[in-house]
Symmetry: C2
Subunit: 290 residues, 2 copies
């Protein structure tokens, strides 16, 4: 049905001329720095190639030297570290607009990145990328702030996973996903399209998937969440945030508006309007047609 779903990577040389392949990246940068039209144009014209990955495929293998900078443009991916016994520990999630290593300083990652839902990735040569940073220092600042945001999220996970009951941890994680996914158009005011399996979530929290399942049931019984196919809804955003002890402040770039209780700015002014499913068609077989 969709070109995206090819079993293996289908490299597509140059997708579209000066179009907005990297619009997700621009949007993310805009949440940190003022980005001029000139820069947008430049980014729009960056030579790049696009690769598609099926779910579970590696975007970057652990300790693989990389010749390029990779920008996720569609789908969801996860940073992971291999554990003995063939298991993986998930260290973070990448959403459209995220870069494999924001500070672009490392030649080699200390962890791998794998597609969670089918992904499209733009690959830009290191040289081209560096040139962009040289020409536009504000872009460099933006990337550094992205790196800081990653760090802030990692710290919050560390905090959240500390001594608190698993259901609060889960609630907190869901709140974070809500905010982050909403910022890229995969969520709305009262929920989001969830690409993650319970096993993914369990992995992040360091609990078993069976227990994760029970935690979800518990949250459901408490009326804190509702599940409709692949869409996860919050009957009351305020209630679950209180339950989780969630304060989205850490998800925001530093010099930006504190976002009053609802949505976190996210550059694009309000990309939500529909009722049933959020986000893109292709990726999530949203419950779609009800």
């Amino acid at each position: 049905m969709d070109p995206v779903q090819s079993e293996h990577h289908a490299y597509q040389p140059h997708p579209q001329p000066g179009s907005s392949i990297l619009s997700a990246l621009v949007r993310k940068l805009e949440s940190f720095e003022i980005i001029s039209e000139e820069v947008k144009q430049r980014i729009g014209r960056l030579p790049l190639r696009v690769a598609s990955f099926a779910a579970r495929e590696d975007l970057v293998r652990e300790s693989e030297p990389r010749g390029e900078v990779r920008v996720l443009i569609e789908g969801m991916a996860g940073r992971y570290k291999a554990l003995d016994g063939g298991r993986h520990a998930i260290l973070g999630f990448l959403l459209p607009g995220d870069v494999d290593e924001a500070d672009a300083l490392a030649d080699e990652l200390d962890h791998g990145i794998a597609a969670i839902s089918p992904c499209k990735v733009a690959m830009v040569s290191r040289f081209t990328f560096d040139q962009l940073l040289v020409d536009f220092p504000e872009v460099g600042r933006g990337f550094r702030r992205m790196a800081r945001l990653d760090g802030a999220i990692a710290r919050m996970w560390l905090t959240n996973m500390g001594q608190r009951p698993a259901d609060r941890q889960a609630a907190h994680l869901l709140c974070e996903l809500h905010v982050r996914l909403s910022a890229v158009g995969m969520g709305g005011p009262d929920g989001f399209t969830n690409p993650l399996t319970q096993e993914h979530l369990a992995n992040v929290l360091g609990i078993s998937s069976v227990h994760m399942n029970r935690v979800m049931q518990h949250l459901r019984e408490e009326g804190l969440i509702r599940i409709e196919g692949h869409v996860l809804r919050f009957p009351s955003s305020a209630k679950i945030r209180e339950y989780a002890g969630f304060d989205g402040g850490y998800l925001m770039g530093e010099g930006r508006t504190p976002a009053p209780e609802s949505q976190p700015h996210a550059g694009a002014p309000d990309s939500r309007q529909r009722a049933p499913a959020y986000g893109s068609e292709t990726h999530f077989p949203t419950p779609g047609m009800e």
Copy 2:
């Protein structure tokens, strides 16, 4: 300026001219970049003031705007985040040579820093610091690598704290501390002087202090550790590392030597010689250095 507070801290306007107050910082930078004599001199002459903090005191309060860059020169401190109920989650440890925010981009921290053992801190004005970075790009690179190292450690904690038995987690943490403390002269080949209480350790791992205690006993019974006062020893460094699944690679700057089994280079050639205690006695102030 906020006179940081009461009688405890003794401000010493300008300690010693040109001397090596910041030698710990230089040592740390040297583990990442080649640092010329010129730079060392410059750092040695940086205008700064030194503050002392008693254990438990805040070096930086959460979300307090900072006018200066702070370098830990003695003692051990912890990054923490306040939790509901007055508790704290420890997010990381700072050792001599560590900087409160290595990438120096943030005007404000998203977490606090508190002294664990009595600390001495050098405060350098933001302006002076920025000037240093402008004049010597390699120093900037060094700081960025320090920031990356912090990130790598946070990711490892996240990994380690995932689904593994608590005793392995604990062993892993102890191995990490061994390497890091050794690098600043607070440890030797088979152990280190431990400034942390079991409660600190428990906090990091997200378990109760009672359980931490039992874990320590278990490790002791297994012959993996031995406790002699404030010194924690490893009868067999290899054995506990295997038990913990510890690979110190993540603790090393990227382009440096892998340090064969014993010590992680650490710039300063050997500051240990006596048998009983590394560092020093009562409250872990490192031996008189200089």
